[in-house]
């Protein structure tokens, strides 16, 4: 296989090497956060974290643990860079979106360090493509300061039940309102559009509700345009956890199973649109 004909010297200079037999295990999860062009990559011993932000109000992170990769070598504590995510995805899917079983694109992603491009070796059916994508200085991702101790309300739902709601959200509404409460309506998504308002209610004893921990009534509104991209992550996932903290910040965490059944995580953080107030 051509990828293994790299000389030892080449391999030595890389500070990060990550290989996958199936590039879709990376590209699918990156698509779930690809609502902006630029992504911040942060690699540690534990794996890869990719961050995309929008308007300083929304942040999406994809986590691909080290053990997802067939090969994962990192020579520094942390390796960070920024690349154009759209370009990266185009390269990862450069052989087309073939879903023929058994045929997949193999990937080897290599990075020399600061100032060097991100090098991708992609192979399918004996054909090898080498892509070099320019990297930029990584920006510091926003710290939403969302910690579990501040979490007021938390639910975990099976994604199936939320998928319909998100795909049919009334986009003429500017906001998506999320109400969480220990009593009725328990968990409610609301939109306020041109024709009227809509409410999606999930009771706490629904069999779609895997976990329900709501301590007090909270109603928060978020810009629907910011949350709509999370529909992609929802579509990939099997479970989603919805948490709000005392400030009304929203955390959505998606459990995604890749083609090989391995688990990855995607999370979205969003600031509330306005103070609706807690009752």
């Amino acid at each position: 296989m051509p990828l293994s004909t790299q000389s030892q010297a080449d391999i030595d200079q890389y500070i990060l090497i990550a290989s996958l037999d199936n590039a879709r295990n990376l590209s699918n999860i990156l698509k779930a956060i690809s609502f902006k062009d630029h992504a911040i990559f942060n690699a540690t011993q534990n794996g890869l974290k990719v961050t995309v932000e929008d308007s300083k109000c929304l942040q999406a992170n994809a986590f691909i643990q080290a053990d997802i990769f067939q090969e994962y070598t990192i020579k520094e504590d942390t390796v960070g860079f920024q690349v154009n995510l759209t370009v990266l995805l185009d390269c990862l899917t450069i052989f087309g979106a073939s879903t023929t079983p058994g045929v997949c694109t193999a990937l080897r992603m290599c990075y020399n360090g600061y100032g060097y491009p991100l090098t991708l070796f992609l192979e399918e059916g004996g054909v090898v493509t080498v892509c070099k994508i320019n990297t930029q200085e990584p920006e510091e991702p926003i710290d939403f300061d969302f910690c579990s101790t501040n979490v007021t309300n938390k639910v975990i739902l099976q994604s199936e039940s939320l998928k319909e709601a998100f795909s049919e959200l009334d986009m003429t509404s500017e906001v998506l309102q999320i109400t969480m409460s220990p009593s009725h309506p328990y968990f409610r998504l609301s939109t306020f559009g041109n024709s009227g308002n809509a409410h999606y209610d999930y009771p706490k004893d629904s069999d779609m509700m895997e976990l329900f921990q709501c301590t007090k009534l909270q109603t928060n509104r978020y810009k629907i345009s910011l949350l709509k991209p999370s529909t992609k992550a929802l579509a990939l996932s099997c479970k989603v956890s919805v948490r709000t903290d005392s400030r009304g910040f929203l955390s959505l965490q998606y459990l995604v199973r890749n083609d090989d059944g391995q688990i990855c995580f995607v999370e979205y953080y969003c600031c509330p649109d306005e103070e609706v107030g807690e009752e």
Partner: protein, 390 residues
């Protein structure tokens, strides 16, 4: 007056009208509010159809997930509430604002139609499947020995550019065949497809009543729980029309329909003009007033009728021909009208509302013709026409 839920719509050029009547039997529960209805015969409200249709759009979801649908009219808040009770305890509630309105009713003398056909919906479905979806108009012709349906093109050379299809049927193919007057009527097929697929899914036979070119054609289905009618205006036959003087000195603009259907746009604008509800089914004899059409084909409009109004004498004045104000062509929103009539209580059984037949709009402004059309609740009872069969 029987309890029912009436859902009606008309396109902006008033060349297609559809109404569905659901008796309480159609529903699991039908609960009129006696307090509200003691002051008026019916609750009447008007919704934008584009807001309602998406709620019922996804067939797979509906059939798989929805257990029950509740429709409530909340008068204090001016809301119609569609609430879907889904599996897993999930509830989806849509509160749609409505406008008050008088319900409209097409006035169509079905009992006076010389020609009547009745067929299983499957037959009609099998017939129209041969016409491309994009085909706008078709001509239905009848004589004592055959019925034919063929594509219609306005332009002379239209038949060169497109594909022509013609189907001929023997009277025996129909469950009921009555020809009182040989004729050929041309109407918009697109606007009928909704009713046809509805009838097929319910397995209901379809009745078709029509007369000569220019008079409306009516299609209807009926069973114990519901009744649906689509009334379409038809093109006049230029060969038969004789020129006559416009009255009142107004000049009569002949509107040539460029297309017979219109895309519905999402433009905001006032809803359809108010039209009135008939408190009881009213049968009005057709005036049979053919308005002149000097040169070209023209589509007559459906007369919409207000109760208590004396039907106007036919005039040739454009846009006053209808008893109701015409919606300018710029306002292309179709509206969906609800009316619920009070009488005795009743209970019924149902599931979700079926998809409603939708007309499509035409681009044209009001024409200079009028047609009076009366509709009756039970068309069959009023058909006294001659029965003629080979």
């Amino acid at each position: 007056m029987a309890l029912k839920l009436a859902v009606r719509t008309v396109n902006s050029s008033q060349s297609a009208y559809a109404c569905f009547y659901f008796t309480p039997l159609f529903f699991q529960k039908y609960i009129p509010d006696p307090d509200t209805l003691k002051d008026c015969d019916a609750v009447k409200c008007k919704l934008n159809i584009k807001c309602v249709l998406p709620l019922f759009r996804c067939v797979a979801w509906r059939e798989r997930s929805v257990d029950r649908c509740e429709i409530t009219i909340n008068i204090p808040d001016s809301r119609v509430i569609f609430q879907f009770h889904c599996r897993h305890g999930i509830t989806k509630t849509h509160n749609l604002g409505y406008q008050e309105s008088e319900a409209l009713q097409a006035v169509f003398p079905a009992h006076l139609c010389p020609n009547v056909l009745k067929a299983q919906s499957k037959l009609l479905g099998d017939i129209v499947v041969h016409f491309p979806i994009s085909q706008e108009e078709v001509t239905l012709s009848i004589s004592s020995y055959k019925v034919a349906l063929k594509t219609f093109y306005e332009e002379e050379n239209g038949c060169i550019n497109g594909m022509n299809t013609e189907l001929m049927l023997h009277p025996d193919e129909f469950d009921y065949f009555q020809v009182g007057e040989d004729s050929a009527v041309t109407f918009c097929l697109k606007e009928l497809r909704g009713l046809l697929s509805f009838a097929e899914s319910y397995g209901l036979p379809i009745s078709c009543q029509f007369g000569i070119a220019g008079q409306p054609v009516s299609f209807s289905v009926k069973d114990m729980t519901l009744e649906a009618h689509v009334v379409l205006s038809t093109l006049t036959d230029p060969n038969l029309e004789s020129p006559s003087q416009p009255a009142h000195g107004d000049d009569c603009h002949v509107t040539i329909p460029k297309t017979s259907t219109v895309e519905v746009s999402t433009s905001e604008g006032p809803m359809e003009a108010d039209v009135s509800i008939a408190d009881e089914e009213r049968v009005v004899s057709s005036q049979g007033s053919e308005v002149f059409n000097p040169a070209l084909h023209m589509r007559k409009m459906i007369q919409l009728h207000a109760p208590g109004e004396i039907l106007p004498r036919p005039t040739f004045v454009p846009e006053s021909a209808l008893t109701t104000p015409i919606t300018p062509a710029t306002f292309k929103i179709r509206s969906l009208l609800f009316g619920a009539m009070l009488s005795d209580g009743g209970d019924g059984n149902t599931a979700d509302l079926p998809s409603l037949a939708c007309g499509s709009d035409t681009e044209e402004d009001g024409g200079s013709e009028e047609t009076q059309v009366a509709t009756s609740a039970n068309l069959k009872q009023r058909m006294h026409g001659r029965y003629c069969r080979m």
